[in-house]
Amino acid sequence: MTRPSQPGDGAVPAAATAQGEFDFSAPAPAEAAPAAGVDQFGEIAADEQASSSAVGLYLQSLAVSQLRQFRAPLQVTGLQPGLNVIAGPNESGKSTLARALRAAFFERHRSKSVEDLRPLGDSAAMPSVDLVFALHGETAQLHKSFLASGAHCELQWGREHWSGAQAEEQLAQWLGYQYAKKGASRSEHWGIPGLLWVEQGRAGELAEAAQHAREPLQQALQAPAVSNPLHQAAVQLAASEGDRLLTQWQAERRRSLTDTGRPRGELAEAQAQQRQLQDELAQVQALLGSYAVDVDTLAQLTQALQADEAERPWEPLQQQLGEARQVQQQIAAWTQRQGELQQASASASQHLRWLRAQLQQAQQQRAHLAQRQAHAAQLHTQAQAAEATRAQADAALAQAQTAAQASQARVQAAQQAHHRALHQAHAQRVQAERQRLAQACEAAQAAQAQLQQGEVAWRTQAVPEPALRELQDAHRQQERLRAQLEVARTGLSWSLGDQHGVVLQVGEQVLPLQGTGQMGLTQAARIVLPGGGELRVSPGGARDVQQLQDQLTQIEARQAQALAALGLADWSALQARVQAAQQAQHALALARQQVRTLAPQGLAALQAQRDEAEQRWQQLRQDLEPAAERGDAAPGAPEPSLDPEAAEQALSQAQALAGQQAARLAQAQRQAQAATQAALRVGAELQAVQAECARLQGAADEAAQEAEGAPDPAEQVQQLSEQLATLETQRSAIATQLAAARPAEVAHAVARLSHAVAQLMAQHDERKVQRRLLVQKLQQANGHMADEGLDERAQRLAAELARTERRVRELDGRSQALDLLCRLATQHRQAALARFASPLFLRMQAYVPWVWPQAQVHLGDGLLPQSLHRGAADLLGMPVDKLSVGARDQLALISRLAYADLLKAAGRPTLIVLDDALVHADAERLAAMQRVLREAARRHQVLVFTCHRERWEGLAAAQFWLPDLKAGAPDT
């Protein structure tokens, strides 16, 4: 019962528990949530651990035979008191083992409803289960077989033994469950094991299981070992009539309010009725209003109609209208008469105007005739004068023509003279030229001859250029070779005095040397001395000297040959010849210069010029000769002069004179022409005027003829004028009358009066119609009031509305009151419940922080977790049914473990079987839950069936691998 005290842990919780005031609603300290939970729990656990060896259920082995897929016997032995993991792949028989366990406890061996235990198609099989377990410290063995005729049940516990139904009852009593009265066992019979044995996929279905185990749980909560005396009181209070009243209030509240507090049921109906009545009442009141308005309108109309009938206001207006219309008729008559007079007056005036126009026109015609006749006479005189002028002009013209002809002849003569003079002068110039050209031609011919001579001379003297150049080259070579030879020669000088006989032999040449002399040797030589000796001289490089000598000789030979070809003796002859050629060339150049000067375009051209000049001269001489023969060709002409200047002067004079005469002639011509035209024009005009005169006279004669016997127009005009004056007088009299009658005002009055009368009568009629309509309308309205008048309806509706409002008020007040009661009751019930369930809360809270650090679970009805609060500040919390499926499963499992703790504390056997209970957990959550399970396994035996062996490895748990177990089973 005691626990070593930890430093810093103190004995506060224990003390608080002893005082019964442990505040379970206070959250665990945040930083120590899981640890604190475990510690808290540790205290409880320590209490319970002590008794666990004496009480509780510890399954040691499980064997099945001929059961479903286990046709061969299968045995699971060595199960541990703590956590056991029985793993196997899908379909390997995990669930069958769990089923076998259930069957061993829950199904009666005689039950016919366990056909599912039979292996498929094996009708002879007898499924059986064998269990070995420790209960309350004693080992028990259970054998149970089903379906076959030999099915039986045997239970051995220590030294006691039961068989058949007795054995089954004993088991049920120990474990806290029931058997089905009929058929297969269902969850409602399972009691505590139902709560602690979680079937595959049903981990989250906590409420039902807890409901089925309610009684043992309540007992457990009230067991002295679990609950202290003060809790006892709370339990009793919570179980009293409060819940009945709360249920009643909730039911009553639900009749008028929804869960969210909106009106429903009677209250909603009453409110709807209230709105409807308000609407209806408003409608009726509107009808009443309109009815009242109609009645008032009817009264007004009736009054107005009566007034109309009594006063007949349109009658005086009608009388006024009659009078005005009479005046209007008089005005119309006057207006018509005025129109007639106006027309007659207009007609007379027009006639008068016409007559006057006639008179005026005749007068004008006469005046016009006289005027035209005078004009004709005047024109006649003008025509005679023009004719005289024309005759004079013609005479002057003839005179001028004669003078002009004479002067023209003189000009011709002068021109001829001038021409001849010019011709003669030209002929002289041509002759001079002819002579000069003839001389030049001669000189040129002479020069040409000289030139030809010179050319011949030059050609004889001239040495051809290549030959000359070759000769000159050879000459220079000779000079050079000789110079070289001079240099190469060995000088030999001698002074022999009188000695003779010394002979010099050079090649073939033998030369006696005597006296004194010297020479150059260009080749080996021998000096033969008298006496037969000799001196041999070899000029230095004798061979070169020889070569040079040879070349020289060769060149000299060639030169001589070339000179010979030219007919020249030697080099000097050549030089002379070259000099002579140069002189000839010079002379030739001079001759060429002379020819070029004399005949720049060549001699032939010069000769052609000369021939042309000769020809021209011949021509001119022929031309001149006939003129000279003609002598005095023009009489009166000046002496023919060969002086061109004088001839020209004479010509100018003659031409000037002829110009003057021509001008005079032109003037005379113009004057004659003008005079002729004037005469023609006047004549034509005269003719036209005479024709017009004739026409006018004819017309006048015709008019005079017509007018004969007609009344005098002047008299007619007089009569008409008088008639017109009378008409005007009458018209003005009528106009005065009309103006006095004011026709516009009369017309306006007539319009106004007739409109007013029409309006009054129309208004009267309209009122009658309106009144009739209104009466009909009101009677119609009255017709609808046979059973209930509008006012009565309004009053009835008002009354109903007032009652409905009263009812709404009452129902609302009552609903609010019920709402308040429900809220208060629920609130205080929760508080009581929390106090009541606190042992369970404590145990839940021992596990919860493992999974949800710092979280608290609040318990609700049926000792079920209601909401999860993540920390102290989370007042609302997350309702359990809003949690995710995984979290819900996990919380449900924790609840089951807490129940197990409670039951265990109350001395009930607890075996926890989880068939794939944590399938929805992620790795992290699974680890947390495994810690929770390990913790629970300190107090309870836990069998975990799983298909995920790997998830459960490494735990301090006994591991069983189903395929291994099956392999180890003997095959039958």
């Binding site: 009793q236 209070l237 919570a238 179980a239 009293s240 009539e241 409060g242 009945r244 009243l245 009643q248 209030w249 009443l288 009815y291 009242a292 109609d294 009645v295 008032d296 009817l298 009264a299 009736t302 009466v775 009101l778 009677q779 309205a781 009255n782 009031m785 046979a786 059973d787 209930e788 008048g789 509008l790 006012d791 009565e792 009053q795 009835r796 008002a798 009354a799 109903e800 509305l801 007032a802 009652r803 007040g813 009552r814 609010q816 009151a817 019920l818 308040l820 009661l821 208060l824 009751a825 205080h828 019930r829 508080a831 009581a832």
Partner: protein
């Protein structure tokens, strides 16, 4: 010499929105029953005529059925003069034109729709009918110059407020000169509009309505028997009780248990024809309230109409009651909180407390 009944303000067709529906119907019918009784009285007293001073009908647009019932109630034995009042003014289209159109008006019933003297064998009645809903002019003015056959008593019949006599705040519409009887040489001026019986002077009086319809105690529920011995003689007036129901409003303050007991005791003696409005105030415990409720429910079944206003009444459980009711568990906490809220004047808590008490008593089989 003339002997007639003066009555007014029948208000036929009136409804009572503030009463329970069945009570309201019954009391509306009672108005017609009063007319029947009045006419029977007229026969018994052998009067010459019944003069009704306006507001015969409560509204213009009552049903044909209502019209028929009223005219049927008038019978055929006694002359009746019906004066249009402000509720049933003689408008262009009115309850009167409708009655004429339906041919409901028997020969001895005179509709005073125009200001014209109605000459009966023993008297000349000068009516002042209202022809508009509201008038500012004195409709009785024409009485002053009205000619009547000599030797006949001149009886005025009008509906409105006598100027300067009635309490302030009365409708100023439809004024009547205070000295009209004297100025118009009337032997008697019969008035309507004031629902209680009230004599203005020796020759002028309001008869009031024959059947009360308000909780105000102003002498309603009567009619006047008028006798005039000769023209110029002072009229003799005698009130006639005509009411079937008594209308009362009682305010009761409940402070101690004996107050409740007294009220319960009184309730057993309430007459059947009582129309009662009970306004309760004070404090009361659960048990007393339950007892009172029971008594009032019993009374309600007996009297003509009972309406109770409990708004001023606080119902709370006493300490003794709490012990007696043996409230336990969290209900104790609920009760404590309710009382705390009541102390703060929470009306919802008051109602919740009543519900609580009733529920508890039902549980205990006390209620």
């Amino acid at each position: 010499m003339p002997r007639f009944i003066h009555t007014a303000d029948w208000q036929i067709g009136r409804h009572y929105p503030f009463l329970e529906a069945d009570d309201a119907v019954r009391l509306a019918d009672a108005r017609l029953a009063a007319v029947v009784r009045l006419m029977a009285l007229a026969v018994r007293l052998d009067v010459d005529a019944v003069l009704v001073a306006g507001d015969v009908f409560d509204a213009q647009t009552v049903s044909d059925k209502t019209l028929r019932r009223l005219f049927a109630a008038l019978g055929t034995e006694r002359a009746v003069v019906l004066l249009p009042g402000n509720h049933d003014a003689a408008l262009a289209e009115s309850v009167w034109t409708r009655a004429q159109r339906l041919d409901l008006v028997p020969p001895q019933v005179h509709l005073a729709l125009r200001p014209e003297a109605i000459v009966l064998p023993s008297m000349a009645v000068l009516p002042a009918p209202l022809v508009q809903r509201h008038t500012r002019g004195d409709a009785t003015a024409w009485f002053d110059t009205a000619e009547t056959p000599p030797g006949l008593c001149r009886i005025g019949l009008a509906h409105g407020s006598v100027q300067g006599i009635l309490a302030e705040g009365m409708d100023a519409d439809n004024p009547i000169a205070a000295d009209r009887a004297q100025r118009a040489r009337l032997d008697y001026l019969a008035l309507g509009d004031w629902h209680g019986l009230r004599q203005i002077d020796a020759r002028t009086a309001y008869s009031g309505t024959p059947e009360p319809e308000r909780f105000r105690d102003n002498g309603a529920g009567q009619a006047l028997l008028v006798e005039v011995d000769a023209p110029g003689a002072l009229p003799r007036l005698r009130p006639l009780a005509t009411a079937a129901h008594t209308w009362q409003q009682q305010a009761v303050d409940l402070q101690v248990p004996s107050d409740v007991a007294a009220l319960i005791d009184a309730s057993t003696r309430w007459p059947a024809r009582l129309v009662l409005r009970l306004v309760l105030s004070g404090h009361i415990d659960l048990a007393s309230h339950a007892r009172l409720q029971r008594a009032l429910d019993e009374a309600r079944a007996r009297v003509a109409s009972l309406s109770v206003d409990e708004q001023g009444l606080q119902v709370a459980a006493s300490e003794a009651e709490l012990d007696e009711l043996a409230v336990d568990g969290y209900l104790l906490d609920v009760l404590a909180e309710l009382r705390a809220r009541q102390a703060q004047g929470d009306a919802t808590a008051d109602e919740a407390m009543r519900v609580f008490a009733r529920s508890l008593m039902q549980q205990r089989g006390l209620a």
